[in-house]
Symmetry: C2
Subunit: 360 residues, 2 copies
C-alpha cells in the first residue's frame, strides 16, 4: 500500500489532524444549530457512535452564538460551517469554535477573508478551505475553472498572510472529479486533507459513492480526516466512515467479519451466522479477522488470512480453523457459541492478531 | 480520468468482455445448480435486475449435467465455476457452458489443466483464471507467494499451449491486496479482467469493501467485468455492481440523484423527497443528473453540474434550477410532481443530457 502522504499537523481542540495521527472521523449535525438542546443531543449521540469531530451549520447570528453553549455541554471539537457571510465566521470564532470551515469562493471580498484569517490567527484555530465544484469562478476565457485552480488561488491569499493553520477539501458530487482534484493538490502542498464526496445522495447510492471516492484516496495514502455525506442520519455517516477506514486498511474498530457470498456449494444460512457473530463480538475491540465460510472444502484455504473462522460442511458440521488450519470440528448449531468462546479466550489472554503488527 | 486499459476481447456467448465493450455486470447463483428449476428462476430474476453474465457453482457431476437444461431455459451466458476436480470442468464444457472459471491453484496436476485447456479450445470458449489469495503456493523459502506471482506462473502454462481466450481475476478479502494485485498484472498482459473483492461479507460491510476495491480500479481504467460478492441476495450484488459502475462514471443506468446531506440550514425532509423522486423516475433510462438540495442559497450553485434540480428555501418554496440557473419557483409540496413532469417532457423531446457526450 502507498505510504501516507506527509502533512503538517493541525490541532482542532484536542484532536490532531495530519499524517502523524490516525485519520479521524467527522460528521455534521442536521439540527438547527440555534436549537441548543437538539444539537447537543445529536452531538452526544454521534460521539457515542465514534464521531471524533463535529461540524455545525452557522446560518445566522443565533447559530453562531449557540456555539458557546454547545461547547459547554459536549466534549468533541466543534467546527463552524460558514457560507457567504464573514461576520458569522468572526462570531463563531469569538464563541469558541475549534475550527472554522469557509468556502472562499462564496465570500466575495478579499478584505472579508482577511478578517476571518486575522480572527483565526488570534485564537490560534485552523481554517478549512472547503472548495466545492459548485462555486468555481470563471476563467478569463469564460470557462468554469477547476477545483485545484480555485484552491491554489485561495491558498495564495492565506500564504501571503503567513497563515498555515489550514485543512483543505475539494469536494464534488462527481467521484472522478473529487479524486482527481485531491490527487493533484496532494502534490502541491503539505496541508492536511479533509476528504469527502459532496451531496452523495441517499444511503443506497451515497455509501457506494463515498466508499469509492474516499477509499480510492485512502489507498493512495491521501486523507487525514474524512466525512461521509449522506442524505440520512449522521449516525449512518459515522458508521460508514469507520467501515471505509477499516476496509481501506488504515484504521480498525474491532473484529472484521469476512463471509463468503455463498453459492450452490453452501447448505447453511451464512448471512444469519455472520449477523449473529457480529452481534456477539460487538464489544470486542481487537482488530481480529473472523471468517464465516459456506464450504468446508474451499473455506479454510480461501480464508487463510483470517485469525479464526468457521467453514460449514455437509453433515451439519462446522470446521473451526485458525490461520487456515482446521483445529476443531463442532456441530453447526453450536458453531457461533464455540467460536465466540475461543475468541474471547484469545482476546482475554492478550493474543494480538497478526495484522495489528505494522498497521497504522 | 484514466484511460481504460487496452485489452483483448473475449466472447462469452453473446457478451463481449474487453476494453472495446462496456464493463459488464455479473453475479453468481446461490441455489444448488442441480436444482434446475430453482437455478433457472434465480437466473431469470438476476437478468431482470440487469445481470449480464451469471456463474453457477459446479460442485458435482449432476451440477455439471444441469448446465444443458439451464441454458435451454435462460438467455444470459452461463459460466461454470469449478474447483479441484478437472473432470467437472470437462463435463461443464461438454454441457455447453459459455465460459469456465478455474483456480489453477487448486487443480494440482498440470496434465489436468492441459485437459481443461484442450476442451475449452475445441469449443472455443474462454477460461477465467481465478486466482484467490487463499490458495497460493509456497515459495522455495517457505513463504507464501503473492497473487501476481501465482497468476504469472499459471499464465505460462496457458501461453505454452497458445491459449489466449483468457479472463483474469485476482481476488482477496483484503481490499489493498486485491487492488495492488490487479494494478501489477495490468502492466504485465492484455487479457481482460474480472474484478471483485472476495468474501466481502454482509451487505453493510461488503458494499463498502467492494465499492472501494472495484471502484479504485475502475477509476484507474482497470476492469472489464465486475462481480460484487455479498453474503446476501444476488439481486443486491447486481444493484451494487451497477451503482459502482455509475459512481465511477463508467456506465449509467438511468438518472443519478444527487442530494445534500442536509444540515442546520435545511427545513425540508430531503430524504423523503429524494426517495419519492427516485421512484417516480425509475423507468427513465437517460443518464440525467437530478439534484435535491435543502438550501436555496447554496443548492443551485453546489449542484450546478446537475441537469435539473430543486432547492428548498424558506417559506415553503422550491426553486427549480437547470444547470445552476433557477428557472421556476414552485410550492414545496408540488415540487416532485413539477420536476418529474419537466424531466419527462425533456426526455420525451429527446434532449440528451450534457454528460452523455463523450462517455463510454
Amino acid at each position: 500500500m502507498a505510504q501516507r502522504r506527509k502533512t503538517r499537523t493541525v490541532s482542532v481542540g484536542t484532536v490532531k489532524i495530519g499524517s502523524g495521527y490516525p485519520i479521524s472521523v467527522q460528521s455534521m449535525t442536521k439540527t438547527d444549530t440555534a436549537d441548543i438542546d437538539a444539537t447537543v443531543c445529536q452531538i452526544r449521540q454521534l460521539e457515542e457512535k465514534g464521531c471524533e469531530l463535529v461540524r455545525v451549520a452557522v446560518k445566522d447570528a443565533s447559530s453562531a452564538r449557540a456555539i458557546s453553549s454547545i461547547k459547554q455541554s459536549t466534549r468533541i471539537p466543534i467546527i463552524a460551517d460558514i457560507h457567504f457571510d464573514h461576520v458569522l465566521a468572526l462570531e463563531a470564532v469569538a464563541r469558541g469554535a475549534d475550527k472554522i470551515r469557509i468556502n472562499p469562493g462564496n465570500i466575495r471580498k478579499p478584505s472579508e477573508i482577511d478578517a476571518i484569517i486575522n480572527s483565526a490567527s488570534e485564537k490560534d484555530i485552523p481554517i478549512r478551505i472547503g472548495v466545492n465544484s459548485g462555486s468555481l469562478p470563471r476563467r478569463a476565457d469564460g470557462q468554469r475553472g477547476t477545483m485545484p485552480e480555485a484552491l491554489l488561488n485561495h491558498l495564495e491569499r492565506f500564504r501571503k498572510r503567513r497563515f498555515n493553520n489550514i485543512v483543505i477539501s475539494l469536494k464534488s458530487s462527481s467521484v472522478e472529479e473529487t479524486v482527481e482534484a485531491y490527487r493533484k493538490i496532494a502534490r502541491e502542498c503539505d496541508y492536511p486533507f479533509h476528504v469527502g464526496v459532496t451531496a452523495a445522495g441517499l444511503p443506497c447510492e451515497g455509501i457506494v459513492k463515498s466508499s469509492i471516492g474516499i477509499g480510492a484516496l485512502l489507498l493512495d495514502g491521501i486523507g487525514d480526516t474524512i466525512r461521509v455525506s449522506l442524505t440520512g442520519s449522521p449516525d449512518e455517516e459515522v458508521a460508514t466512515a469507520r467501515r471505509i477506514l477499516a476496509s481501506a486498511g488504515v484504521r480498525h474498530f474491532g473484529p472484521e467479519i469476512i463471509s463468503c457470498p455463498t453459492c450452490g456449494r453452501c447448505r447453511v444460512d451464512i448471512a444469519a451466522v455472520a449477523e449473529e457473530l457480529g452481534k456477539a463480538l460487538e464489544r470486542v475491540e481487537k482488530s481480529l479477522v473472523v471468517a464465516v465460510m459456506g464450504c468446508e472444502v474451499n473455506g479454510p484455504g480461501e480464508a487463510r488470512d483470517a485469525d479464526i473462522g468457521i467453514a460449514f460442511g455437509a453433515n451439519n458440521k462446522g470446521a473451526i480453523f485458525q490461520k487456515g488450519k482446521v483445529t476443531r470440528t463442532v456441530r453447526a448449531d453450536e458453531a457461533v457459541k464455540v467460536l465466540v468462546e475461543m475468541i474471547n479466550k484469545d482476546v482475554g489472554a492478550g493474543l494480538v492478531p497478526a495484522r495489528d503488527a505494522g498497521r497504522k
